[in-house]
């Protein structure tokens, strides 16, 4: 088991997301350090993809900004190598299956170990296809994170039983992005998860304010926030780090 379990040892976990290289990697480095300093328990680093089919417009645009700025997988690996000198909390990559596959799965996943990443989230890799990368993740001690959706129903137990690191519960139908209201019966999903595994679970998709985060963390082991942070970066650009830090603090304080 990786370091991810440590993320769930400080009460409810707050898990922020950021797209690497939006607007540039120097800004990403500052933001990640601010997140860690302000109470983030685990950080999701997005490796941009040209066609992110699970993302709403906010993160889609962040991906495009990053790619048009010339960010590549190798440059992001270098960023993490550098960040690991200061940032000790668990970190996972969030990207799409083709980014891993195309790089060479073994080369990609072994590099994750080398640069001390703890896990990998691939929203277009469902349970049925996880053997594409699972054996390599096992070999290099990387947690391949499982996702559970509002439509998973009879699949929850099967997914939970084999889950590693933590379980990413998708709060709502559709793509990433902030929502005014989350209607899914998340309590019953979490209950089924708990009946099948001790692996912690956190809820993401649509969470944008401390009240929502507190509600979601109350139902599970933590809250994941992406689009709301990416929006701050979209607005504040290279000066976004302090504001992201304040936002992370307010969220962690709300769910503690």
């Amino acid at each position: 088991m990786s370091n991810i379990k440590k993320a769930f040892e400080n009460g409810k976990a707050f898990i922020p997301f950021i797209t690497c290289g939006d607007p540039d990697l120097e800004t990403t480095a500052k933001i990640v350090k601010e997140m860690a300093a302000n109470g983030a328990d685990l950080i999701e680093l997005g490796i941009p993809f040209s066609d992110p089919t699970a993302e709403g417009p906010v993160i889609q645009n962040a991906n495009l900004r990053a790619l048009s700025g010339g960010v590549t997988t190798d440059k992001i690996f270098d960023l993490v190598r550098d960040l690991r000198k200061d940032v000790k909390i668990p970190m996972v990559f969030m990207t799409y299956a083709n980014v891993v596959f195309s790089y060479g799965a073994e080369k990609f996943i072994s590099t994750l170990k080398e640069i001390q990443m703890d896990g990998l989230i691939l929203p277009d890799l469902p349970f049925e296809e996880k053997d594409e990368f699972q054996p390599l993740c096992d070999k290099y001690g990387i947690d391949l994170i499982s996702l559970i959706a509002p439509t998973s129903e009879n699949r929850i137990a099967m997914i939970a039983k084999e889950a590693k690191g933590f379980i990413y519960i998708v709060s709502s139908l559709g793509v990433t992005g902030t929502r005014s209201e989350i209607k899914t019966d998340l309590a019953s999903i979490v209950k089924t998860v708990r009946e099948n595994t001790d692996t912690p679970c956190a809820i993401g998709f649509g969470i944008s304010n401390p009240e929502q985060a507190a509600g979601m963390a109350d139902l599970s082991d933590g809250a994941i926030v992406g689009s709301a942070i990416v929006k701050i970066v979209e607005k504040a650009g290279r000066n976004a780090a302090p504001e992201v830090g304040r936002f992370v603090k307010s969220m962690k304080d709300a769910i503690r």
Partner: protein
């Protein structure tokens, strides 16, 4: 071992968000239930024959044959189907299936607009709601088809993300499907995407090759020596090839859109220039950079302007059963004009890619050989774009 479901060799699979998994499983179960159901098959056959106008003609292109001076050329006239393309074969099947599944709403992606028009048509016929996603760039290239879809009662949503073409329309339709599953069927237009779509679409398009076989046996008493079709995602091609796959004497030739040439970046020839990847639900060949970012492909043909290819084609390529050849914009435009002048048939610019290769191949074969070229659609929709290509500004 990776998921064996829906594999063609190493290709295929189900690389999609968890949110969609139960939807594709439900679709597969429904399809398996209805594909052998005599009532469903009869209902579909009646629709294809009475509504869509099947069987489509297998026409002996005598002037073209004489002009090229080699193999005898037959044209499989999918352009004569209702709505003007092969797309209706698949759409009637999927719409009927969706209806049996209790779905009331169809969503679709479209490139050239032919699949969108076919989906809008089926939705009108069956009393279903219809939303079509179309790259903004394509809504300009194919304005007439946008109007046709709206006339048929569909909502057309221009997709502005990425290259604003077919791949972005597919991505947006997938996003829409994840947000609304219970009443909505995603009527995918080609032999691509996650399992079971490549199989379902192929089965519904296989009527093309079944008809070619029986029609040619009747006319010539034998099988063709080659079948030629254009390939974007590859639905008319797999439909034209499928029944002949076991007949190894029949060459199967897919014509990819080379755009401005396979030695340029402005191409959509996936098998010539792509490599193995995981995208839009499938493992197959994709045009991509070294980091796996999907390439912004280009072709004059909106219907072939896609950076991937269906997984069964990728497999037929791997095992050498089918050949895939690149055809440039210029060659396709010349073939478009050639078929109009020689046979009085204006093909879709997509289909013109297949005609162009037939023009190259026929003279190299002896007169006792037979080539079948699938004319997947009619070219009315392309006249303005071809006029522009030739420097004429045509107002529709």
């Amino acid at each position: 071992m990776t998921n064996p479901k829906g594999r063609f060799g190493v290709h295929g699979g189900q690389y999609i968000p968890e949110t969609l998994m139960n939807a594709v499983i439900e679709l597969e179960e429904a399809y398996n239930r209805f594909k052998n159901d005599p009532d469903f098959q009869k209902e579909l056959k009646d629709l294809l024959n009475e509504y869509a106008g099947r069987p489509s003609r297998l026409y002996y292109a005598e002037k073209m044959t004489k002009d090229l001076g080699g193999a005898k050329i037959y044209l499989k006239r999918e352009d004569l189907n209702h709505t003007g393309a092969h797309k209706i074969n698949n759409v009637l099947g999927q719409a009927l299936l969706a209806k049996k599944m209790g779905k009331t709403r169809l969503i679709a992606e479209t490139g050239a607009g032919q699949h969108g028009v076919a989906t809008a048509t089926a939705a009108a016929l069956m009393g279903m709601e219809c939303v079509v996603f179309m790259g903004e760039e394509d809504t300009i290239r194919q304005a007439l088809n946008v109007y046709r879809m709206r006339l048929l009662g569909a909502e057309v949503i221009p997709v502005k993300t990425g290259t604003a073409t077919l791949k972005d329309a597919v991505s947006e339709a997938m996003r829409e499907w994840t947000s609304r599953i219970s009443d909505t069927h995603y009527c995918l237009g080609s032999v691509m995407g996650p399992h079971p779509f490549p199989t379902i679409v192929r089965d519904f398009q296989a009527v093309i090759s079944k008809e070619i076989r029986s029609q040619l046996l009747e006319k010539e008493g034998r099988l063709p020596d080659a079948v030629i079709a254009c390939v974007g995602g590859g639905s008319n091609a797999i439909g034209s090839f499928y029944d002949f796959i076991p007949d190894t004497s029949v060459r199967l030739i897919g014509c990819e859109a080379a755009g401005r040439g396979i030695d340029t970046f402005e191409t959509a020839a996936t098998i010539s220039t792509g490599r193995l990847g995981l995208f839009h639900g499938m493992k197959s060949y994709f045009c991509q950079d070294k980091y796996g970012q999907i390439a912004p492909v280009y072709s004059i043909s909106a219907g072939l302007d896609y950076p991937g290819v269906g997984p069964e084609h990728a497999h037929l390529h791997d095992i050498g059963r089918a050949e895939y050849v690149p055809v440039t914009d210029e060659e396709a435009v010349c073939a478009f004009e050639y078929l109009a002048k020689t046979e009085g048939i204006i093909p879709a610019i997509e289909s013109a890619h297949a005609v162009a290769y037939a023009q190259k191949l026929a003279p190299t074969l002896s007169k006792d050989k037979i080539i079948v070229v699938t004319i997947s659609g009619r070219g009315d929709k392309d006249c303005a774009a071809i006029a522009r290509y030739r420097g004429e500004d045509l107002h529709e």
